[in-house]
Symmetry: C2
Subunit: 436 residues, 2 copies
């Protein structure tokens, strides 16, 4: 019967059996202090030479890091210990004696660590980050499921590009056709929203971007909720509740991991509704003020999309996410609804995370007009026949509808307070990184 | 303020506003009976000519199927109505008047329906199937999350094939490399299980199979749990609890949809532990008996994998899933552990669903031996360098470990009692089907 390290506090005074790996070993004369990890936590054992057989002592003594072993012992409360307990070891069975584990406490370069990602995952920090990722994913699904959304997974193989064509991965589809890996489930979501009212898709998305920055992955997970009969305002309210729910859930369930990551949790506690809502024009004014004060390097030109330094500057003005809305239509996707009173603006919103984490959510209201959509498709030089099915959504029961997309890895990096997005997914895929 | 149709019973006697689409319209002299759907249900409205303005009457009268409209009215209890209520309409606003919706109550061929999948999703049966799919996915995640599993998404882009190479989709990865779309997260799961103890991956998987059967999709979703320190027996117990949990959850939350699908729910109620466990040799004996009785067309040869007719015959003997274990090693994956007492058997298990739904789960225990694995890699002609990282898992802390994979769409088809797997995913991808 296996007991998990996370549950040890419930077993104080009892004899338990732990199954895991040697995380670290200190010894001092007639005492050994093996640290055991089992995926749920780390606990220190105490082996007294006079209390165990000589064979057992000799078997344990030479074990290298990451040797696998089954340890039996009594749980003793110890306030000084990280998990509040230690194990007085009475027996141990070595499953495999390992030596020369490549990842040691010394500093390794990022390429070495990424080459050994399959082993690096066992280290404390990486473990903590992926536990937070698990919680972010669970929070996302719990929130949407309990808010009346239906999961409608959208296809990975798509016949045409949703946005742009230069950053698509192409797949040979049985020789006679080309398929492209999805960049967004957006258009398909609009079809399922007309069938289910409130829907979401949540799967991997792909960008063949030749960027090698700390914010880019070629393969990342995205959640995209979409609502029929919903406006830009509705989508901003949803984004606000959604992000606040995720942050609260991470705070509630991942205190230990946040401690390992040395995360300033006050930054997460600040993520509560309402979020500031800033019109694009006002954002531009703020950027101009920033430029005059020397806090923004380049003077921002009205009409452009926000760059990373602009986003960082704007978000630095707030301790919670800021929602910039009413972007110039020219920088937003072709299917965005225009502001009925000011045609040059699209009813889109970007939610910028604090602390320089940039855009975590992008979304808005979609056009309901078949005619406008046809004009847009022509103006963007898109092949109309590929969008006939999408036009059908305006021909048959067109309704106001809105939604957004959020990248899971960027959100996880923000929650964790870490710099590199590549650490937020078990096996990152990047421009020069397809292994292991 | 929008009220959802699923909640109407809570609002009897109140005036509510519904936002949706016209599902059907009957009229009779001075009465109209519009059926409204909003994605959460369907309700019938009653419009009395003398109670509404002439303009409203005239606006409603010509509306075609799938016109979008906002209806205000009083909720009246009516036991004969499907949802227990009707709406006495006091006001209605037409959002868009639609005509000639392509999918009518008449019979359409499958190609036509698949071409119009974006609209077909609105029909009652498809809606019900995808609601069940949503519930299957949620049940899977809730079960694993509450059972101590950590979600570790495995990569879609892989550098080498996990099993076989003929059914892989190839992707051009920035010109200088080839990537393959994952067929299974299995090997990566073994790395994350060594870091987290109990893990699962859950994402789309891809098979470039040139099969055009009712059981095949080129893109389908698969969940794969993996446990460190677990044996074949453990994995069979997990599969049993897992499938029973899913069936119970579907029964608890999808009664209405199961009724729409005319599902014999007694078949789902029978899915409770324990499931029969049948050794491959005993399965072969049963197949021989079946052959002698004329119930199996071809005499099964010991040593082969089970074909679809064999699976159907075996599962027809039970009213719950049957777990066939200890397959000949030759028909199972290279990483399977051998039976220590009978080297010709692999410690693998296939779970066959009743009613001819075939293998829903495949899994087993993985080898712990680096040496054995190297032999297998050589014997299967696999490039060793591509598996160096996988061999590392045996070099550093190798432990007994086991897991399985389950295809979500096949499970959903079984839960729904429907024939074609293509109806269990919003946008199916098949040999000749990449659109919409």
């Amino acid at each position: 019967m296996q007991t998990y390290i996370k549950d040890l506090l419930k077993h104080v005074g009892e004899e338990v059996t732990l199954k895991g790996w040697l995380y670290n070993m200190r010894s001092s004369g007639k005492l050994m202090f093996p640290q055991l990890r089992d995926g749920t936590g780390i606990v220190q054992g105490v082996v007294v030479k006079s209390s165990v057989s000589p064979e057992m002592w000799d078997a344990l003594k030479p074990l290298g890091q990451e040797s696998s072993l089954v340890v039996t012992g009594r749980v003793r409360e110890d306030e000084r210990a990280p998990g509040g307990v230690e194990i007085d070891v009475t027996n141990a069975e070595v499953i495999q004696s390992a030596h020369d584990f490549p990842i040691t406490p010394k500093e390794h370069g990022p390429e070495f660590l990424l080459d050994n990602r399959h082993l690096w995952l066992r280290s404390k920090k990486q473990h903590a980050i992926l536990k937070v990722r698990h919680t972010v994913v669970k929070a996302v699904r719990d929130f949407l499921d309990s808010d009346g959304f239906t999961l409608c997974d959208t296809p990975i193989f798509t016949p045409a590009a949703c946005e742009g064509t230069t950053t698509l991965f192409e797949v040979d589809y049985f020789g006679d056709e080309k398929a492209y890996l999805t960049q967004s489930g957006q258009l398909y979501n609009e079809a399922t929203a007309a069938a289910f009212g409130k829907v979401y898709c949540f799967g991997p998305t792909f960008r063949a971007e030749k960027s090698k920055t700390r914010r880019h992955l070629t393969e990342f997970w995205m959640v995209e909720p979409e609502m029929a009969y919903a406006t830009l305002d509705d989508v901003m309210s949803l984004a606000e509740r959604f992000l606040s729910f995720i942050a609260r859930r991470v705070l509630e369930t991942r205190q230990e991991e946040l401690k390992t990551l040395e995360r300033d949790t006050s930054k997460l506690e600040a993520i509560v509704p309402p979020f500031p809502r800033v019109h694009y024009d006002d954002a531009v004014k703020m950027l101009h003020e920033g430029f005059e004060q020397g806090a923004v390097e380049n003077k921002f030109e009205w009409g452009g999309d926000l760059g990373a330094p602009d986003e960082s500057y704007l978000s630095s003005k707030y301790d919670k996410p800021v929602m910039v809305h009413h972007y110039p239509a020219a920088v937003k996707a072709f299917y965005m609804k225009r502001d009925p009173e000011h045609d040059e603006y699209a009813l889109g919103v970007d939610v910028l995370a604090p602390e320089g984490y940039g855009e975590v959510i992008g979304g808005g209201e979609r056009t309901t007009s078949e005619e406008f959509l046809e004009q847009q498709i022509a103006a963007h030089g898109l092949p109309k026949e590929a969008f006939e099915w999408y036009l059908d959504l305006r021909r048959y029961g067109s309704v106001p509808h809105s939604g957004f997309g959020m990248g899971i890895e960027r959100c996880t990096a923000w929650m964790c307070g870490i710099e590199h997005i590549r650490e937020t997914i078990p096996f990152p895929r990047m421009l020069y990184r397809l292994k292991p």
